[in-house]
Structures are given as C-alpha cells and as structure tokens.
C-alpha cells in the first residue's frame, strides 16, 4: 500500500484545467518532489489530497483511506504546510504548538512534551516564548512545519515550503526537510525550484497543465535528455572549424555552436571516459587556444526545457 495513491484526478475551473487526469503514487517513507511551473496544478493536487478541495472526478487514498469518502479520517493522518506560514502571529511558538495539540486532543502533559520536543527539533527553543509576529520568515516556516507534525502524520504535505525565503533560510529549511526524509516521514513536496527537488526528493513527478509529463529519480530524468555534455571555449572564432574536427572523435553526438557565441562548442559525451584531458590535447594539437573546458550534468531545468519547450521558472531560474 502506498502512502498516497491518486488516479485520474480532474479539477476544472471554467475553461482552466487545473488538473486534467493526474495519477500519483508515493511509496511509504519516501520524499516525492512535485515539480512544475506556476499554474501547473501543484497546489491544486495538494488541496485535493488534503481534503480542502473536491475534485470533479478521480480517486485518492491517503494511507489507504479514501479522501472523498472519509475526509475526516484523512485529516487525522496528514500534516499540511501551505504556501503561507500559517501560524497565529499573536501567540508564541509554544502556544501555537499547544493549540494544535489541544485540537488533536493530546492531554495537557502530552501537549507540553510534544511542543517542547518539536521546539527543540526545529531549533526554536530560544524563541519559544516570543510571539510569532517577531519571528523571521525561516523561523515561521519551521514553526509551521512543527505544527504540521504534532499528530505524527502518515503523510506530510509541504506546498512550496521555501518560496519567499532568503537563501540562508532556504538552506536551513532544506536541512529540516532532509532530516524528515531521513526519519522516514513520507513527504509530498511541491516546488518550482529545480535545485530544491534535486536535493530533497527521492523521486520526482513533473507536472504541467494538470497532467504528469515525466516521473522518475533525478538521475533517470536527467538521463532522458542524454547525460553529460562537454563545453569548450576557444580564443579565436577562425579556429572553430578546426576545433570541431578535433572534438568529433571524442564525443557521441552532434557538436553544437552556442547560439550567442562564435567560440563555444558543446556536445554530448559518454560519462566517465576521461574526455576532458583528451579534448584539451586534441584542441592544442590543432592550434586552437583553449580558454575553458567544462563537463556538465544536465540540471532539472534542462529536463523541464526539453520536456515542455520552456523554462520552469522564467525569472528565477535556479541553476545547480
């Protein structure tokens, strides 16, 4: 039994197809990265799976419980951290945690113990008795996740948990999520940051326009677009043809001239073949002055580009 099992989820808003027949399986204890650009349907899936939104059709089970038939039982099995840090700003971190504990019917002793434990785990002990209004963005998110964990949920949903955080807080949040994954918590993580999915997720589902367009491990996805590439820059444009001929025997596909350059070539290579030193030697031999050589694993951004023909996050493309 999977922790999350959804099939054929459809949700239309008028003409907009937020979900258009989405299937999703998340094995127990794994971290699934749900990846896609803004408006791809990521948040809609999370809202359906967390009982906040009824789909037009399709089925979904959390920990074996039917989301549509038995939402209240599903709610007892999930934790949700949405796009906003949903904390009561005028209460302290500790009070926020105890509030959720009270809703979940922990007795006063268990409530206090659980709050203390989570404050420690999320590095909030010092701030525990300050009102959340004065917390930094990163602290709020950590409190938010801690609140989602009070009930020991079978599945934790994190909807864009690092959106709007500064780089340092983002890395702190990654460490938190990595620890959750290591503890065996099942996590469904949505993000538009490819680097984030790359770092945190055991497996990735790429969605676009409400359907799944690819799935697999990070490496599997990268392999689908052809593995490593070598990229060389030489000093003078007039040597470019000679360089091309020098490289030809070392690579496994077409050699492309970079679109906005007259001195940079790139081509796919076989992984781990010591191509770089041989390429440098060959280029030297043909008289082209080498300025730069690099071998690059494709990023998830490349994957998304090749799957959809567009970048995942236009203005904030994150390179690994």
């Amino acid at each position: 039994m999977h922790a999350v099992e959804a099939s054929g989820l459809v949700k239309h808003y008028g003409e907009t197809r937020a979900l258009d027949g989405l299937d999703l399986q998340v094995p127990k204890g794994s971290v699934l990265g749900l990846l896609g650009p803004n408006g791809a349907g990521k948040t809609t899936v999370v809202r359906v799976l967390t009982t906040l939104l009824r789909p037009d059709s399709g089925t979904a089970f959390i920990d074996g419980v039917d989301v549509l038939q038995n939402p209240q039982e599903v709610r007892a099995r999930i934790g949700l951290t949405g796009q906003y840090a949903a904390v009561e700003e005028r209460m302290t971190g500790r009070e926020n945690l105890e509030l959720i504990g009270r809703f979940l019917r922990l007795n006063s002793q268990a409530r206090k113990a659980r709050a203390e434990e989570l404050l420690e785990r999320f590095d909030l002990v010092e701030a525990a008795d300050r009102v959340a209004k004065n917390y930094s963005g990163g602290m709020r998110r950590r409190l938010d996740i801690a609140m989602s964990l009070i009930a020991n949920p079978a599945v934790l949903f994190l909807d864009e948990p690092t959106t709007g955080l500064d780089p340092r807080s983002r890395i702190g949040m990654w460490e938190v999520i990595e620890e959750l994954g290591a503890d065996g918590t099942t996590v469904v993580l949505t993000t538009q940051y490819l680097e984030e999915a790359d770092r945190l997720a055991d497996s990735i589902v790429v969605i676009d326009r409400g359907i799944k367009i690819a799935e697999g491990s990070v490496d599997e996805l990268k392999d689908t677009i052809g593995g490593d590439r070598i990229r060389v820059s030489i000093a003078k444009p007039e040597n470019i043809e000679a360089a091309r001929q020098a490289l030809a025997p070392l690579v496994i596909g077409d050699i492309d001239l970079d679109p906005d350059s007259t001195t940079t070539l790139s081509a796919p290579i076989r992984a781990g073949g010591g191509v770089v030193p041989r390429a440098i030697r060959a280029l030297d031999d043909c008289g082209a002055d080498v300025v730069d050589v690099e071998v690059r694993r494709p990023t998830l951004d490349d994957v998304f580009l090749s799957l959809t023909g567009r970048r995942a996050a236009d203005e904030e493309a994150v390179s690994a």
Binding site: P71, Q72, R102, L104
Partner: protein
C-alpha cells in the same frame, strides 16, 4: 522519538461534545490574543465612548421625544444596540484575516468539527462585545443615564442586544468568507450597517421621517431591537417588539450559520 506513548491520538469521529470542545479551543485562541493587540482593543472601545458622548452632547439638547424625561433615556439604548451590532464586523475581518494567512486552511485540514472555527470565532466576538458593552454602560451612567425599570428588565434588554449582534456575527462570518481580502472585508462588513442602524427608531421617532421612509424604518429588524431594548431599560412593556426581536435573532442565526458553515467547508484561500 516514540510518540505512540502520547496517544490518545484523535481519529476522524466527531461528536457534538467534540464540536463544542473544538469551538471552545478556537474561541480561546481569539480571547487570549485580545489583550495582546492593545491598539485594536483601544480603538474598539474609543468608538463606543465617542458615540455616547457625541450623541448625548451634540443632539441631546436639540431633540425632545414625548414620553421621555430626556433624549438621553431614549437615545442611549439605541447607541448601545448600534455599537454592539457594529461590533459584529470583527467577525468578518478576523475571518478574512485568517483566510488570507492560510490559517483557515490549516484548521480545515485538521480532524476537527467543521463548525468549530466559526462557532469559536462568533462566541469570542460575543465576549468582546460584552466588554464593549460594560465600558459603554459606565460612560452612559457618567452622563446621567439610568435604568428606569427593574434590573432584571435591563439585564433582559442587554442580553437581547448581545444576542442580536451575535446573530449578525453569522452574517459577518458569511461575508468574511465570501470576500477576497481583509480590506474588502473591512468595507463589506461595515457599509450596510449604517443604513440598517440609522433607518430605524434608534435615534429618532420614525414618524418624523418622510412618508416613504417611515414604513421602511418601522419594518427594519433593528427598529424592533431598539424599541424592545429601550422599553426594557425605561420600564415600559416591550410588547410585540420583544417577540419580533427574538424571531429575527433566531431566523438570522439559523439562515446565516447554515450559509457560513457551508461556505467554510469549501472556502479557498
């Protein structure tokens, strides 16, 4: 990290008793933070005090109402009623705020009663209104207002006004969940209450209004409330106004709590 020891963990079953406990947990959240937002508390008290003083000193000398020793005795119950009804707008604004911050989603994803958030919110706003009332009453006494009837009748009038504003809290809950933002909730919760409270018998006798307006004022539920409360504070028989008021309170509460809870179950942030 073993948490099974911390059970009983809540399951999805929700009884009536659970619903009340959830509502009271939610009400506690709001009541706890009232003193932590002193500006809001301050402003919510300044307005009623200002209204009592302005009306008494600005209009008090100019208006005579037959059958009343002073305009104050006529006017002050009306100001009480208006201020308490205005107080219901806290419900709309507070809910819109929770909605915009994602707190409503968090609460909706918990295995708690669907009614809890709204019942808790409306009850805590009722408590807030009771505080407002006590402050207003003190100011009214300072400017010479007196209970002319029995204490029991005065208490009855007070309960009636608080219950009426409670029923309006459900209208406000529905508004707060329907509009898109806190700013919109601010406006949408307030604007319509001006005609409701002024096109009534709260401040003047409707027979002094233009012919076309008088029947509107007479059939306004707020007129029923103002008349009933005024009678109870001044030692008259409230007559049918009392029953009309109770009828409106029940009717509004039933209709709008149904609408609001249904809206809540589907609300999107």
């Amino acid at each position: 990290m073993n948490n099974t020891a911390m059970a009983p963990q809540r399951t999805g079953k929700t009884t009536i008793a659970d619903a009340w406990r959830d509502a009271s947990t939610e009400a506690t959240r709001h009541l706890r933070i009232i003193p932590r937002n002193p500006e809001l508390l301050g402003f919510s008290l300044v307005q009623p005090i200002m209204f009592v003083l302005l009306f008494v000193y600005v209009f008090g000398g100019a208006i005579q109402i037959p059958g009343f020793a002073s305009y104050n005795q006529f006017l002050i119950p009306g100001i009480f009623a208006q201020t308490l009804v205005f107080g219901s707008s806290f419900t709309a604004v507070g809910l819109a705020e929770d909605l915009s911050k994602g707190l409503v989603d968090r609460l909706r994803s918990l295995p708690i009663a669907r009614s809890a958030v709204l019942v808790g919110r409306t009850f805590s706003d009722l408590a807030r209104n009771a505080i407002t009332f006590l402050v207003m009453l003190a100011v009214a006494f300072l400017v010479g207002f007196r209970f002319e009837g029995s204490l029991v009748a005065a208490l009855g009038g007070t309960v009636l006004m608080l219950a009426f504003s409670y029923s309006f809290s459900w209208i406000q809950a529905w508004i707060g969940l329907s509009v898109g933002s806190v700013e919109a909730a601010n406006a949408a919760s307030f604007i319509w209450m001006f005609p409701i409270t002024f096109l009534s018998s709260a401040f003047v006798d409707p027979s002094t209004m233009p012919d076309w307006l008088e029947p509107i004022a007479n059939h306004n539920p707020f007129t029923r409330l103002a008349n009933a409360a005024r009678a109870l504070y001044n030692g008259f028989d409230p007559g049918a106004n009392l029953w009309w008021s109770i009828g409106w309170i029940i009717g509004i509460t039933v209709v709008f709590s149904t609408l609001a809870i249904r809206k809540f179950s589907r609300a999107a942030s």
